[in-house]
Structure formats: structure tokens, C-alpha cells
């Protein structure tokens, strides 16, 4: 009796697991987690495949994929080509986000303050201390700047947002590059740290005269006062979805081996200077061809059908040309038999 029961249970569980066409697991960056979840929900209804994504942070995503405990890892910080090769990994971008300087200056509206990389770096270095500083004023003629001290707010936790922001400051300002530098956590010379985007946003809202930086979706959904920035082409641009896409479109992806590309300070006329893509990491040689296939089938579906949903959540999707390029790169992800899995 017991034995038959056990057999029956095993049989049902086998049937049950067989019924799920693809059960894929991923772990990593928190920034794209909402859109991955949304895609997975729709995909499950259509393709009968489940995605189990754990938003444990970019660093964790890298560790997990290197340890091969998940089918894919996700990271906001692309891995360098030699690092990819050393771990037998390859990566591709999925969605784009932008980092937006936000502030709390009574009487100043969104988009009124103009900032350059150097000015922003000087503020974050503590060299520009008040809002009516002559350098800041010279870029912002016509804006009534108060004589209030600037309170600098940054992220306290290690994050891809901080990585993009500090890397951008490093590119635009030598003092920053030789000082704190670009990393997901740095030795901030001044200011106070908020935990997560909401922590930064809360401190900025509560502190008149403060400046911080948050992800675009966060700034938009909370109606925060953002600054406009000067890009590489010398144009003043606002943080909009179109301008992030412009940064991605203008980037030279073909010349970036392993898609190692920071979308910072890109040349396009409308390119928002602090833009970054988030990436998926996979092993080039899959131990289970079916798993590899399922992961790529999911992202292929998302590239085809996921744009509208991503836009709803204020993510910017990749331009078509880049998607084609990524699909080509998938041919080098092979199964144990050496054949492409997708």
C-alpha cells in the first residue's frame, strides 16, 4: 500500500515537473527586477514557462552565475571582456535606465537648473558649497539661486546607480577620477547616505538645498525636481526615455567586445549623459542545452513583445539594431554537444 502510494506520488511529481516547459532561474540586479517579473508573468501565461528571479543585487548575481547555481545572472555593471573569458561567461544588455540628479530647492522647478559633469563633481567633492556659487550661477543665468548651503545626498549601499553616477563623474572630472573614482561604493568626500533610491529621495525631500541622484523611474514616479545636463555634444538635455534611448542608439556596440559598454557620456545630440544598460550573464558552454534554450527563448520573447510593458514601468528598451546584434551573439552559447542552444 505504502509502496504504491510512493510510486504514485513520484509519478505525479514527474508529470508535474514535465508539464512545465521551461523552469528557469536567475539572480542578480535589483534595478531590472520589476520588469523581469512583469515579463515573466505574461510569458508564463503564453509559453507555460516559469522564471524564478531573485533580486539579490548585481554582486550577488555575478557570484551565483560563476558558482553555476542559476541559469543566468543579472548585473547593472557589465563584466570586462577578460573577466568574462576567465569565467567562461558572456553577457548581453536587456533594458536601459538613466540616473538623474534631483534636488530640493524651493522656488526652482524641474529642468531649470543646468549642470555639467565638472559642476556636479565639484558639488559632490564639496568644492561648490552653496547654490549661488559663481560657477553654478554662470551656467544658470536667469535662475534665482538662493544662498543656501548644498547638502549632498548619495547612496549608502553599494549599487549600480552609484556605479554609473561616480563613473560619469570620473569621466568628466579629473579631481573626481583621482579622488573617489568610479565604483558601486566609494569614499564619499561629503554628504549623507540614504539606503536605496527611496532613502536618497526621502533625504532630498526633507532637506531644503539638497541634491541627490536616483534612477529615472524613481524620479519620474515621485515628481522630483531634476536638473538638465550638458552632454558630450554640448547640448542641454532633459532626463527622458527618448534621450536614454538616444544614448543607447549612438553607442558603438559593434566595437564593444562582449557588450562591455558603459553608455556614459555618449556622442548623440540628444543623448542623456548618465545612462546605463543592465545585463544578463550566461555561461558560454551550457551543461544543459534545454535550460540554456529556455533562458534565451524567454529573452527573445521579451525583446519581441516586452517593450510596451517595460515602457509602462518607465524602463527604456533597446533599439532594434542592438537587439539584432544581441541575437547574433547568442549563437556562441552552446550546449554540451557544441551546437548553439537557441
Amino acid at each position: 500500500m505504502l509502496k504504491t502510494l510512493a510510486v504514485a506520488i513520484t509519478a505525479t511529481s514527474l508529470v508535474a515537473s514535465g508539464a512545465i516547459a521551461g523552469n528557469i532561474s536567475g539572480a542578480g540586479a535589483t534595478f531590472p527586477a520589476p520588469v523581469y517579473a512583469k515579463w515573466a508573468e505574461t510569458y508564463k501565461a503564453k509559453a507555460d514557462a516559469t522564471l524564478n528571479y531573485q533580486a539579490i543585487g548585481s554582486g550577488g548575481g555575478k557570484k551565483q552565475i560563476i558558482a553555476n547555481t542559476v541559469d543566468f545572472g543579472a548585473s547593472d555593471k557589465p563584466m570586462k571582456p577578460d573577466e568574462l573569458a576567465a569565467n567562461g561567461l558572456q553577457q548581453f544588455p536587456t533594458v536601459i535606465g538613466g540616473v538623474v540628479p534631483v534636488m530640493n530647492l524651493p522656488g526652482v522647478k524641474a529642468g531649470e537648473i543646468r549642470l555639467t559633469a565638472k559642476v556636479l563633481a565639484d558639488i559632490y567633492l564639496g568644492l561648490i558649497k552653496t547654490w549661488d556659487d559663481p560657477v553654478l550661477a554662470s551656467w544658470n543665468k536667469g535662475v534665482k539661486l538662493p544662498h543656501t548651503p548644498i547638502t549632498v545626498v548619495h547612496r549608502s549601499d553599494g549599487s549600480g546607480t552609484s556605479f554609473l553616477f561616480t563613473s560619469y563623474l570620473s569621466m568628466g572630472d579629473e579631481k573626481w577620477a583621482n579622488g573617489p573614482g568610479g565604483n558601486d561604493a566609494v569614499n564619499w568626500p561629503v554628504g549623507l547616505g540614504g539606503k536605496g533610491n527611496d532613502g536618497v529621495a526621502a533625504f532630498v525631500k526633507q532637506t531644503p538645498g539638497s541634491i541627490g541622484y536616483v534612477e529615472y523611474a524613481y524620479a519620474k514616479q515621485n515628481n522630483m525636481t531634476y536638473a538638465i545636463m550638458q552632454n558630450k555634444a554640448g547640448k542641454w538635455v532633459a532626463p527622458t526615455a527618448a534621450n536614454f534611448a538616444a544614448a543607447a542608439a549612438g553607442a558603438k556596440w559593434t566595437e564593444a567586445p562582449g557588450f562591455y559598454l558603459l553608455l556614459l557620456d555618449q556622442p548623440g545630440a540628444n543623448a542623456w549623459p548618465i545612462t546605463g544598460a543592465t545585463f544578463i550573464l550566461m555561461h558560454s558552454k551550457q551543461t544543459n542545452a534545454q535550460n540554456g534554450h529556455d533562458v534565451l527563448a524567454f529573452f527573445d520573447w521579451a525583446y519581441k513583445n516586452g517593450d510596451a510593458q517595460a515602457a509602462e514601468l518607465d524602463y527604456v528598451t533597446l533599439p532594434p539594431a542592438i537587439k539584432t546584434l544581441v541575437r547574433k551573439s547568442w549563437k556562441t552559447i552552446v550546449g554540451p554537444d557544441g551546437k548553439p542552444v537557441f
Binding site: 539579490i56 555575478k62 549608502s156 568610479g182 561604493a185 526633507q206
Partner: protein, 319 residues
């Protein structure tokens, strides 16, 4: 039935005889497992933190630069260590009198009808998860604190006085003092509940005799009940202090998270626990070693605190 009743009560072996060795073994296993776990934690903290400890040596504790950028990694934890000690001490200083007050009120003065609701409220306060305190602290407490406490105090501080230094910082409701207050609220229910239980253990005769001799409530508390529970009270305080030292989430939200030495009470700082919570997720290599070493430092600090408590208990001459 009747036979059983009439038979002489003869038992060759005590009833628990067979269970006794098993019971002893289980108890011993439980106690040693705890000790082994503690030792294991200590050893793994030392091993995990060794790369950072061996590289920076004593500078790990005295250094004030915490720079996680891989191009110039330097880890000096003096800022978080001082932040931990200051916030815990200030929190304890604030919470202890209130916890004492709550406990004495509940035991000595409270009308019976109020005793249960207040007691339950205190216990409920202890059950709130710390992240809720953090969110509340950041979104509700901080703006009020900034407007009603920090700004008036900063404005009132005489220029050039020690008060000006003490009240310097950014008046936005975050920082060392705000974190201390949140911590005080968090450790308060623990201490109040433990103290209340302790005061309840004072035999009624002792108290009644004191009242009978004409002592006032204050006199009874000061010279009878308090000395009676002194040992346990120190334990309760240490329990609160232990929680304050290790508290993570609530502090992370409100302390401002800058690694340097805090310059004043309103300045932002960091604690050991908040630094680990902030950075461990994305840390690798030397940085994660430094964070584990930071955990070791917290372990040692907690150990010292407990040892001091023991010392206080052993010397009954000092009250």
C-alpha cells in the same frame, strides 16, 4: 483496582531513573552545541576577516578612511566603531530612566485596571520589526525631529560655544542623535518588560514592611526594591545595550551613513551593523573581508560589554 490501592508503595527504582542519563546528555548537548556554535562563529569571523586584518593591522580599528573603490582600497573602521558606541550609549542613557519609570509605575503605582493595557502595549512595542522603526524613523520621525528639535536647537546654540559644535550638522532629521532616539525607543520595551518582571519578584512582605515603617513610594523604590533586584537590573540593561549595539536596519535608515568621524550630534555617521548591511550585498574580495572583520569587532565589543556586566555583578560593594 482495590488491590492496587492496598499494595504497599514499592518502587525498586525511581521513576525517572531510565530517563535521567538521556536527559542529562540532551542538556549537555544543547549547552555544548551553543558553545560550539559561538566558537565556530568566532573562528569563521577571524578567518573571513583575516585578509583585511592582516593588511591594515591596528589601522583597521584606528583608521578613519573607508574607501571601497578597488583602485585604492583602504579600510579604517574608527568611524563606524565610534558611531556604534555613541549611538548605543546615548540610546541607553535615554531609554533607561524611561524604562525604569514604566516598570516602577506598573508595579508600584498603577491602578490595576491600567496595568494590563500598559503592560501589553510595552510588549507589543517590543514585537515591532526593526525595519518598521526604520521606515517610521525616516518618513515620519525625521521631518518632525528636524523641524521641532534640530532647527530650534541649532538656532538657539550660542555662536562659538560647545553647544554650537554639538548641534552642528545638517538639520534634516537624520544623524547620530536621531538614530540614538530611534534606538532608545527600540530597546525601551525590552528593558521595561524585564525590569517589571524583576520588580514583581520582590517579596510582598519586604515591600509592605518598608511601607509599614512609613516609607514613601520613592523611598521604597530607591532603598528597598531597587537594591533587591540590582543584579537582575544590570542584566536587563546589558540586554538592551546588546540590542542597541547590534541593531541594523532602523539605524541604517536614519543615521546618514557616512563613514567619517561624526562631528556633532546632528552630523551623519555610521555604525558597524549599518555599514555591513549597506555594503555586504555588493562587496567582494578585500571589501567583504573588511566587512567580516567589522563583524568581528562588533563581536568583541559585545563580549567586552558582557564581561563588564559580569564584573559589575561580581562586586556587590559598588551599587
Amino acid at each position: 483496582m482495590s488491590n492496587a490501592l492496598n499494595a504497599p508503595p514499592r518502587r525498586t527504582t525511581p521513576r525517572g531513573f531510565h530517563i535521567e542519563p538521556i536527559f542529562e546528555m540532551l542538556c549537555f548537548a544543547a549547552a555544548t552545541a551553543l558553545l560550539a556554535a559561538l566558537g565556530g562563529v568566532l573562528v569563521s569571523l577571524v578567518i573571513g576577516g583575516w585578509p583585511a586584518l592582516s593588511k591594515f593591522g591596528f589601522g583597521f580599528i584606528t583608521g578613519v578612511t573607508w574607501d571601497p573603490n578597488p583602485d585604492h582600497e583602504v579600510y579604517g573602521a574608527a568611524g563606524p566603531i565610534i558611531g556604534t558606541l555613541i549611538t548605543s550609549a546615548v540610546a541607553l542613557a535615554m531609554a533607561l530612566p524611561i524604562a525604569g519609570g514604566v516598570a516602577f509605575f506598573l508595579v508600584e503605582l498603577c491602578p490595576p485596571i491600567l496595568r494590563r493595557p500598559i503592560g501589553t502595549a510595552v510588549e507589543l512595542l517590543a514585537g515591532i520589526p526593526s525595519i518598521v522603526y526604520g521606515m517610521w524613523g525616516l518618513f515620519v520621525f525625521a521631518p518632525l525631529f528636524a523641524k521641532n528639535i534640530e532647527m530650534p536647537l541649532m538656532a538657539a546654540a550660542p555662536v562659538g560655544s560647545v553647544w554650537e559644535t554639538l548641534f552642528s550638522g545638517i538639520p534634516n532629521g537624520s544623524g547620530i542623535l536621531a538614530a540614538s532616539i530611534i534606538l532608545a525607543i527600540m530597546i525601551l520595551p525590552f528593558m521595561a518588560a524585564t525590569l517589571r518582571e524583576l520588580l514583581n519578584t520582590v517579596p510582598a512582605q519586604v515591600r509592605e514592611s518598608a511601607y509599614g515603617l512609613g516609607a514613601t513610594t520613592a523611598e521604597v523604590v530607591m532603598s528597598v526594591t531597587l537594591p533587591y533586584v540590582r543584579r537582575g537590573a544590570i542584566g536587563a540593561v546589558m540586554l538592551g545595550l546588546g540590542r542597541a549595539l547590534g541593531e541594523t536596519m532602523a539605524v541604517t535608515f536614519i543615521i546618514g551613513n557616512s563613514h567619517g568621524f561624526p562631528k556633532g550630534l546632528f552630523d551623519s555617521g555610521s555604525t558597524i551593523a549599518s555599514t555591513i548591511a549597506n555594503e555586504f550585498n555588493e562587496a567582494s574580495g578585500l571589501q567583504s573581508a573588511a566587512l567580516i572583520a567589522l563583524g568581528l569587532v562588533l563581536f568583541v565589543i559585545t563580549f567586552i560589554v558582557l564581561a563588564l556586566a559580569r564584573l559589575l555583578l561580581r562586586n556587590p560593594a559598588k551599587v
